[in-house]
């Protein structure tokens, strides 16, 4: 089953770009005096900068790595390099049993599920002070209400003066308004206001964007009329944090999830990773954040499937989810619904917007489609329709190189304006429909 791990999949597990690059450099047999494959575990010794080589092991069922190097990244470059070497030089591995320290780690991993439950119980107990919590919630509501009232006044003011004069306003106007919303703990609204200056050049898009902001403000005033799910979506759009701890107390959907794509976004001083999983017709979005320079939690093997339990955040259009426990038992991709053409994508997205008007993006699998280079690049389906592509051109050139201009299936994010490719298959989803 680990045979299906491609270098691309392995590098998707990296906690940051540096680890991936260093792992590539280390993945040559000359740097590894010992290399062994016991069937379920890879282990080896890598000559590092110290006198003694590092002992590195990978439990293939995860895949999860352990290493004696001092790095706090997880998996470290040695673990990734060991996986890469196994992919390219598998037959050269010996079959010596793993040393004791690795055995101990493996045994420890098996008990870990129970431990994890105990830990989360402790964490929940720490939080529990209902009185203080209710007080904090009430204070937050008050702040948000005041902030959004200010926003609505600001928007009406803009409308009275006309958008033609909006571009002559000083930048500090937008910044101040965004900062006010930030102070009012409505970070989602603040982010949308901060986006306004980028739209000043295209009045139509600007008006639609301002309308959306007004809808946020009015939605909050009229929230009593919303269903519980709709209210959650509004709160999420405003920037209320997800109660992940609370979610983890409830039961999730356990099953085999296809890991279809991963996007890594560098925001100022924050790395955001979006991982898209799919099980039957359900798409799940996992979000991970790491403040500047810190590594992300271990990633998922993109292009493989994993056994995992996911708990979905309440929403009219379920998408955002959190992982309960640990994902494991990676293997081939499981069956998936057939890919969409472009009209079907837009129609599915319209349905999603009808449920959650704040939805910023959703992910879809397209096919059979072709990509066309240009400014911007475009994706074209067999009915002759096309949509613009977004993102770095480099992966698109790789796609074009591998497909030779032929049909592919794509997985990626649609944000209402352009499609961002996260993964592609030149055959039908790794050999099957």
């Amino acid at each position: 089953m680990s045979d299906a791990l491609t270098p691309e999949t392995i590098l998707a597990l990296a906690p940051d770009a540096g680890s991936a690059a260093n792992a590539r450099k280390l993945a040559t047999p000359g740097k590894w005096p010992t290399l062994n494959d016991t069937g379920s575990v890879l282990w080896g010794e890598c000559q590092g900068s110290g006198k003694n080589p590092y002992l590195t092991a990978v439990d293939l069922s995860g895949p999860v790595a352990k290493c004696s190097c001092p790095s706090r990244k997880f998996p470290c470059k040695h673990g990734l390099a060991l996986l890469l070497l196994h992919a390219s030089h598998g037959p050269d591995f010996g079959s010596q049993p793993a040393p004791e320290s690795v055995q101990t780690w493996l045994a420890g991993r098996q008990n870990r599920a129970e431990k994890a439950e105990q830990v989360s119980e402790v964490a929940v107990r720490k939080e529990a002070d209902p009185g203080a919590q209710a007080k904090r919630r009430a204070a937050r509501k008050k702040k948000v209400t005041a902030g959004l009232e200010g926003l609505h006044l600001f928007l009406k003011d803009l409308m009275r003066d006309g958008l033609a004069s909006a571009s002559s306003r000083p930048y500090s106007d937008w910044d101040t308004q965004a900062a006010r919303l930030m102070d009012a703990q409505a970070s989602g609204a603040a982010r949308r206001v901060a986006h306004i200056p980028e739209l000043l050049g295209s009045p139509a898009a600007l008006l639609a964007h301002l309308g959306e902001l007004a809808l946020l403000a009015e939605g909050w005033v009229n929230r009593a009329g919303l269903s519980e799910e709709e209210l959650h979506d509004l709160r999420a759009a405003l920037g209320f944090p997800l109660d992940a701890a609370g979610l983890l107390e409830t039961g999730g959907i356990r099953g085999r999830w296809n890991v279809l794509g991963q996007a890594l976004i560098q925001e100022e001083a924050l790395t955001v990773r979006r991982t898209w999983l799919q099980n039957a017709s359900q798409m799940a979005l996992l979000l991970d954040f790491a403040p500047g320079g810190r590594p992300l939690p271990p990633g998922f093997p993109v292009g493989q499937s994993v056994e995992a339990e996911l708990v979905f955040a309440p929403s009219a259009f379920s998408q955002r989810a959190v992982l309960k426990g640990e994902a494991g038992a990676s293997g081939q991709l499981a069956d998936a619904p057939p890919p969409l053409n472009l009209t079907e994508l837009l129609s599915a997205h319209a349905d999603a917007l009808a449920l959650n008007p704040w939805l910023e993006r959703a992910a879809y699998r397209l096919g059979p489609v072709r990509v066309v280079p240009g400014e911007p690049w475009a994706v074209v389906d067999e009915t002759g329709g096309s949509l613009p592509l977004t993102g770095d051109v480099r992966p698109l050139l790789k796609l074009l190189g591998e497909s030779g201009g032929g049909a592919v299936s794509l997985f990626g994010e649609w944000d209402g304006a352009a499609f961002g490719v996260l993964k592609f298959w030149t055959d039908a989803l790794g050999g099957r429909k």
Binding site: A27, L84, E218, A378, L400, G401
Partner: protein, 519 residues
């Protein structure tokens, strides 16, 4: 959109100056008319929200742009996984060209997934290395270059296509024309020469220089037919750069009129002193020099500046003439030519002439013999001759090189060893490789870093570091390793050697894999 435009018009001038439009007869008009808020601004915003969402949800695909031509079918088989597994390890290292050459020799092309990385590498390296990449790109690779401006360097002729259409040529940039000419030349050298003859004069100076650059880098004996073009160039080209380049190309042609004119000038200014009996017996000759008074109309064309002293003129001539032509015209042996140069302090000029011929196929045994004879003079010439000595060491005859190598290895003289090794093709013989590794291990054994140049590091000089880099790609990969360093050797020394050996192991594995899977 029909509802959005009037709403946007109002929004642009502001509700203080315009009234809200009243939609009617459109699919959304009823829904829009139902939205009424306390003031016009709030109504406008709410209607904009509805229309914005409706636009997003109602979006339809756009008509497709024309699809690119699909990639042509491949003519070469794809390299098997057994060998391509090394590709990511050698990518962007000095070992990549060797992998590419092995792949080309096997008649394979690289898998398409590696193309973007390789094309990027090709964009960064020089023409010599690019030449190792071209044969393994396959049809897919050549097709793919059409989609990124950064890969334009590779765009040019299609396989088997040996004509250049005027339109492509007219549209190409200066660098593009150089690439096109290079491609045409490698596809069909004779056609390339015809093309050069017919187009050269019409080009701008920048392009003319680039075209001659191509000739300089890849001179072939058949290029002798270009002599009349080059003669015309040195007579009438407006750029001194281009004229100089053409002269250096003519110098490479032993039988060129240019070289004969130069040799005639040397002959005319030389006289011989009488030597005694001992001199006659030992074959000594002593020369006298005199400046020729007769007017020489070609001086300027041949790049000769006016001089005051005869020796100065001789030095000019020696640096600009093919030594082979000189030896024939003056009936001199290589050692005698070197003695003539030595008598008039023209050793450096003679090395310069040899250097001009280097890296071209015209460098022959005769020139190598001159280089051999120059060595003792350069060695005795003090530090200012050092760079010339290095140049000559890479040009000497193979017999002389073997002796020099033994001497340099025996003296553990890295400065002499480096140019000698550079003159050798890869891979070096096993025995030599083993000796170089042993010497490297000896030189590095006390080194604590690449830079600390102190008591402990004294032996680990920059020349050794360069030899180490060269050994990485040029030593025979299966060379036996010297005994390990002592346990107390510094970390840097152990690590550096470990990296070298790991690289050699990788190359050995690479060679073995290619050998086993080769058709």
């Amino acid at each position: 959109m029909s509802d959005f435009t009037p709403l946007l018009a109002t929004a642009l001038v502001g509700t203080s100056r315009a009234t809200l439009p009243t939609p009617s007869g459109t699919p959304l008009s009823d829904a829009l008319n139902q939205i009424k808020k306390g003031d016009a601004e709030a109504t406008l915003l709410a209607r904009a929200a509805l229309l914005g969402l409706a636009t997003r949800a109602g979006r339809m695909p756009e008509p497709a742009p024309p699809l690119p031509e699909p990639a042509p079918a491949e003519t070469l088989p794809e390299a098997p996984a057994r060998v391509t597994r090394h590709l990511s390890a050698v990518l962007n290292t000095s070992m990549l060209p060797e992998w590419l050459s092995l792949c080309a020799a096997a008649g394979w092309r690289v898998p398409p997934s590696h193309l973007p990385d390789l094309l990027d590498w090709g964009g960064r390296v020089n023409e010599e290395l690019r030449a190792t990449l071209r044969p393994v790109l396959g049809e897919r690779g050549r097709w793919l270059t059409g989609f990124s401006p950064e890969w334009r360097w590779l765009r040019g002729l299609k396989t088997g296509e040996a004509t250049l259409d005027e339109e492509t040529w007219e549209e190409a940039t200066e660098a593009g024309r150089e690439a096109l000419f290079r491609a045409l030349r490698s596809a069909d050298a004779a056609r390339g020469r015809d093309f050069l003859t017919s187009h050269f004069k019409a080009e701008k100076a920048g392009v003319r220089k680039r075209l001659l650059d191509v000739l300089t880098q890849d001179w072939q004996p058949e290029d002798a037919v270009l002599e009349s073009l080059l003669e015309e160039t040195i007579l009438s080209d407006r750029s001194e750069d281009v004229r100089g380049q053409a002269r250096r190309l003519l110098q490479r042609l032993p039988g060129s009129a240019f070289n004969s004119r130069m040799a005639e000038r040397v002959k005319a200014m030389l006289g011989q002193e009488k030597v005694g009996l001992l001199g006659k017996l030992t074959g000594q000759r002593k020369y006298t020099l005199s400046l020729v008074d007769a007017p020489d109309a070609d001086l300027k064309r041949d790049g000769l500046e006016p001089v005051k002293h005869a020796a100065e003129r001789l030095r000019q001539l020696l640096s600009a003439t093919h030594p082979g032509t000189l030896m024939t015209a003056l009936d001199l042996k290589p050692a005698e030519l070197v003695n003539l140069a030595a008598q008039f302090e023209a050793i450096r000029e003679l090395t310069l002439a040899l250097h001009t011929l280097a890296h071209s196929s015209v460098h022959d045994d005769e020139c190598a013999a001159v280089a051999d004879a120059l060595l003792p003079h350069l060695r005795g010439g003090g530090p200012s001759h050092k760079p010339h000595l290095s140049q000559m060491l890479s040009l000497i005859s193979s017999r002389c090189r073997d002796a020099e190598l033994q001497m340099a290895l025996g003296n553990q003289d890295a400065e002499a060893l480096l140019p000698l090794l550079r003159g050798l093709p890869a891979p070096w013989p096993r025995e030599l490789s083993g000796e170089v590794l042993r010497q490297l291990a000896r030189a590095i054994r006390k080194a604590e870093s690449q830079y600390a140049y102190g008591d402990k590091n004294a032996e680990w000089t920059y020349a050794w570091i360069q030899i180490l880099e060269l050994a990485q790609t040029h030593a025979a990969p299966n060379t036996p390793r010297p005994p390990p360093l002592p346990a107390d050797a510094p970390e840097y020394a152990r690590q550096t050697l470990a990296v070298l050996y790991a690289g050699l192991d990788l190359r050995a594995q690479m060679h073995a894999d290619f050998k086993e899977t080769r058709p």
